[in-house]
Subunit: 484 residues, 2 copies
């Protein structure tokens, strides 16, 4: 029994040190590994399969809005990155520079893309001539590089995987509509597929994307310290980039006008979000919709004659399930069933099926859900496909509900700045509070508590109350929280 519990005992408990638990669970569940390159991580097959499932589903949703995928160069000449002043100010401290090609010094340094606005906009300028060419709706899946001194797997690494969408439009209204539409795509994707409830809203001026007119965001609450994680953003770039990169078109009246841009992205930090929102002391709990393995089958036998019978049933069950779900049979013969249970719990597989000699005799399997500890149900093999499918749906719903309950439980209306300070200092969760809109109040809270305005939620109360900080009339209700 001691060796059976090996993994779980080695995993630190969330309450003891949530950040360390995060590091350990990612390592032990084989989502990612340390890498010899400072600031980066290797995404292992189990973690990458999760990302592939997420990609496939998000890609489908993005394309359903009329967007097409393309690919733009990894390198951006320094002069391009510098054209939009706010943009370069925001990104310059984080840029990796290529200064040599082969054995030659480059005349102009090349940035390894931190984001692609400044390489895509010059292409838009080539492609857009008339109103007939608009809108152009493009997305790219790639990695980007931002120099990062304190890496953290998935959340903050020197290089990370994401998709970045870039569009051009004839009017500001259309750009605004697209920016909001893509935020809604993200909200629905994160809530439906990753089972993470989010708060959609707008970033303040001080928190918006470098060069944007407006930045929209979805903010999620993590487990453990109940900090926020910005899970995706969508920017209305106005005509800043159109003017800077001279992207113009002839409108229906033959008049030359500047275009309006949007950009929007979701990165693999959402993997980190799933780990932190759903995980527990036994390890990961992966939402069935994106889990690389939805069902694991563990054979149980003692004698060789049992083994043959059990493994025959395992084969039969696997063949039945394979058409409907992502199933894996764990046939390793150097591990005990107990060790395997812990291993697959750690890896967050939603359903475990145990098949032993008694199950074989009764033509049934024993089904155990990862999210409900200790419950075991016998399911006749004849009903198994339907039962597994409905349990997977039920797990998806129950993970979302549990996450929503956490979000509600750890969110409070705060009307006293001292209470806010206390709550932030004790990791008590999200704080709904009124704000006058003055950047000075925002800056003061950030300096004094390290909490930031995560967003101005789209959903605002009918009555606005005075600013938490200065007592002036409140302009918005905002969410204050510390963030990863």
């Amino acid at each position: 029994m001691t060796t059976d519990r090996k993994y779980v005992e080695e995993l630190i408990e969330q309450e003891d040190d949530f950040d360390r638990w995060y590091v350990e669970v990612i390592q032990k569940a084989e989502l990612a590994d340390e890498s010899p390159v400072r600031g980066t991580r290797v995404i292992r097959p189990y973690g990458f399969a999760l990302w592939e499932n997420m990609q496939a589903e998000l890609d489908r949703r993005i394309k359903a809005t009329g967007v097409q995928n393309a690919y733009f160069p990894l390198f951006i000449p320094k002069s391009f990155l510098e054209r939009e002043a706010e943009h370069i100010k925001g990104f310059a401290p984080e840029v990796a520079w290529v200064t040599r090609g082969g054995d030659k010094e480059l005349e102009e340094w090349l940035a390894v893309r931190p984001t692609s606005e400044s390489i895509i906009c010059p292409m838009f300028a080539r492609w857009v001539q008339s109103y007939r060419d608009l809108p152009i709706l493009i997305n790219q899946w790639c990695s980007v590089v931002r120099w990062e001194e304190r890496p953290r797997a998935f959340l903050r690494t020197l290089e990370f995987l994401w998709q970045e969408g870039h569009t051009v439009h004839a009017t500001l209204e259309e750009a605004e509509e697209r920016a909001r539409l893509m935020l809604e795509v993200y909200r629905d994707f994160v809530e439906s597929e990753l089972a993470i409830p989010v708060i959609p809203g707008q970033k303040t001026e001080s928190e918006k994307f470098a060069g944007a007119l407006r930045t929209y965001t979805i903010e999620a609450m993590m487990g453990g310290k109940h900090w926020a994680l910005q899970s995706a953003t969508s920017h209305n770039l106005g005509d800043h980039f159109g003017k800077v990169f001279d992207i113009t078109f002839l409108d229906r009246e033959g008049k030359r006008r500047y275009v309006f841009n949007t950009s929007w992205g979701l990165s693999h930090r959402t993997i980190g979000a799933m780990v932190m929102v759903h995980g527990d002391d036994r390890g990961l709990k992966l939402p069935p919709r994106v889990a690389p393995i939805q069902v694991v089958i563990v054979p149980i036998w003692r004698k060789d004659e049992e083994r043959r019978q059990v493994e025959e049933t395992v084969d039969r069950v696997r063949a039945m399930l394979r058409r409907a779900v992502r199933v894996h049979a764990d046939l390793r013969d150097d591990k005990t069933p107990g060790w395997k249970f812990n291993d697959w719990d750690l890896k967050g597989v939603p359903i475990r099926l145990e098949i032993g000699p008694r199950d074989v005799a009764s033509d049934q399997v024993t089904l155990v859900r990862r999210d409900v500890l200790g419950q075991r149900q016998a399911v006749p093999i004849a009903n198994l496909v339907g039962a597994v499918q409905s349990e997977l749906e039920s797990i998806q719903v129950s993970l979302f509900r549990a996450a929503r309950a956490m979000l509600e439980r750890y969110t409070e209306d705060v009307r006293d700045y001292e209470v806010l300070k206390e709550r932030v200092a004790t990791n008590a969760g999200f704080n709904r509070a009124f704000w006058c809109g003055d950047p000075a109040c925002e800056a003061r809270v950030k300096a004094e508590t390290k909490a930031t305005v995560r967003c101005i939620p789209f959903e605002q109360p009918a009555e606005l109350e005075p600013c938490l900080v200065c007592g002036a009339p409140g302009k918005y209700q905002v969410i204050w929280a510390r963030a990863y």
Copy 2:
């Protein structure tokens, strides 16, 4: 009529200048575009959709052999790249170096990966302890960078998209088997999906991958100048990388041993291959299996009342076809049908359906195949789905047959070095000839003709004849040709 033929008249004829035709057709068909970054190209949505279809199918085939996808860092520390001496010698002149991060000089330069052996092998060394950990079969889809002075869209660009597979095995035999298996996966993929016949074989010592024990290749013949294009390679790396990166395992007897590696890759240059193998003076001809649009519908009408009827039928036909094939209806109202025919011919769409008032009246459409000029068939709408599917299959077969006929027609057995010189100088095609195996003979031919040994085909004749160059006993029959 003159304006209708705009595109086609602008496209230079293949016979006049095949290389210029290649550049023009890629630009005009919107597969790729110039980019402001020296040596790179932007892959436009039409070109990228083609790559996505190729990726999906090749990824499925790779995974079917037990390989899993993962992701390794873009940057490789200089010292890692230098560990395998042959490897760095081969790649150093082409490496892009990151020397600055943010505003700091780096202590150790980072290479932007030209290929990932030297970053993946250190991870294998971490992951492999015992024979139970073997084999590890990993693939990654990414871009790589090799400094390139004379870029050519898809064929040779500073940055290119590819997949690179990397495996570790307990024995040399198993590595050999994997290297050959992956070459066979490539052969079948390129022949079945891209409709390009290839010659599978082994590279000579002087042409093999830097650091490999043996390199296998599939070589295709392009149109126009009938040069060769290396379409994919698979390397048995022996235990070189195992020894250099200290990847060892305990075998069943408890003895520590070095592993054996393979690596194998297919890049987006195969898009260039499809362009050059199948294209003609009207533009691209895309193989149906990977074509982004398999069927385009062009409505034909003069009066507004016709338009309503025709577009209703277009909608109905599109809805019918959508479930079975990738279909697009070209409803642009600022272009004539003739212009559209040329545009979609240029873009290589396999089937065009024309729907005019007479078609509507007879409940039929007019089907035109891109690969058979001038043939038009009326197809009753009731039979359309089946007819389109069978025509698509037929086009796939006929493109492959035409390409094979070209390969056969422009391949000759050559027994006289003067004839070889003459044939290479006049772009007469592939040359099958015997070779003694002496690198000196190989080097001489390369220096004197610019042709290289493309491969030693797996299929060798029963009787070997004397070396074409020195007359010594022949060891192999090889293929001599110029190559892109």
